[in-house]
Symmetry: C2
Subunit: 211 residues, 2 copies
DNA sequence: ACAGGCTCTAAGCGCTTGCTCACCTTCGGG
DNA sequence: CCCGAAGGTGAGCAAGCGCTTAGAGCCTGT
């Protein structure tokens, strides 16, 4: 059966992102929009630029999307769903609070580094969404916050963590992970895996877990 | 004698930011631009909006600034100078590495929270600068990085800190502090002082200092 | 008194923007 | 074999953009 993952496997094993978006032309436009938004920002990107990158005329965009803002919303929605799923599956896994927090940070950071173009759009173009779409997305972010806060609370209750300010530390942990999307670049020295491992270690120190 | 601070004191003790910018009309335009850029982003802000907030006609902007981009550059330059000065004065102060790191994070975060509109423009509108102006600003950021890295290195050398990856931890500390400008809002529960204290504590834990 | 320099405005130029519309092609089903 | 739906294009509209220009008001020095 199909997987719930956003990405799908092609015959030769390559990753094909946004495989869930159909038809094919709509997917190409969306991928082009992610690249353009990540490079120049939503407001500095023109519909002509997006259509051009997808190899189509400017008018073709409006066959698949009502407005440029709808494109951003689709990207933001899918990205936030994926990010939330990563955090949730780590939070609900077996193991100690420390193990779950470490795994959550590691995979969350790995996603922000590995998909930093997508993540940049998802995390930094929120204000460009219309009012209705924005409140929908903000609710997803509230759930991400709740997932992390739950791990911290459980760790404190179990005596594993020493955290005086759980809401504040939750905010700091998520903020640290999210900001990876801003500075990470592919030509840098670190791989997404390495950054994930480094950050998982730093976060465990923040909650008072000894090595 | 005058102070090197960006802000100046008025007769009744109120803070008057951007006091160094003259003449008065140029200062009003710059303050208006900071607000507008912080709210909507550089590209979504129009020169008519900036001039309107300053109570002037659109053309007045071009008496004091050659282009809209020059306005952004002036804001970015002054803001980066201030941020770097805060880090440097903490790094070069007396005291143990732990004390200096704590003071640096506390004041750096306090500035990002207290001046979060300015900080948002300074930290997140870098890509909107022209190529020449951007390389100038990037150099200032390199120096901020060096100031923090120096404290970490000295703390490790003195045996105060346990930091396996100094460059990576430097990156994480700065990233954590900078991202305060993104999420901080004045209607929230925390004051800039409280966030500074929380973050100073979290960073000390990251470098392995016990309480 | 008045020349000369600042500061600021009203009007608007040339261009780009998001988006639309009339029309063309491709293609599976009766 | 023709049909209508679906996906695509070239041309272009109304609006808004950054920025310029001609000239008005005002302060200052002689």
């Amino acid at each position: 059966m199909g997987t719930a993952d956003v990405t799908e496997e092609t015959a030769n094993g390559e990753e094909k992102p946004w495989g869930e978006v159909t038809p094919e032309a709509a997917r190409r436009l969306l991928v082009a929009a992610v690249e353009a938004f990540a490079e120049r920002g939503y407001h500095a990107t023109t519909t002509r630029d997006i259509a051009g990158r997808a190899g189509m005329s400017p008018a073709a965009l409006y066959i698949h999307y009502k407005t440029k803002e709808e494109l951003l919303h689709r990207i933001s929605r899918i990205g936030h769903d994926k990010a939330l799923e990563i955090l949730r599956s780590a939070a609900e896994a077996e193991g100690s609070a420390a193990e779950r927090l470490s795994a959550a940070v590691r995979s969350f950071v790995r996603w922000h580094a590995g998909h930093h173009t997508t993540a940049r759009v998802v995390q930094y173009e929120l204000d460009a969404l219309g009012a209705g779409h924005r409140t929908e997305i903000v609710e997803l972010r509230r759930q991400s916050d709740a997932a992390v806060r739950r791990i911290l609370n459980e760790g404190v209750a179990a005596g594993e963590f020493d955290v005086p300010d759980v809401p504040g530390t939750t905010l700091a942990v998520l903020s640290l992970c999210i900001d990876v999307a801003r500075w990470f670049n592919t030509e840098g020295r670190r791989t997404p895996d390495e950054v994930g491992a480094l950050y998982a270690d730093l976060v465990l120190r923040m909650v008072g877990v000894q090595k």
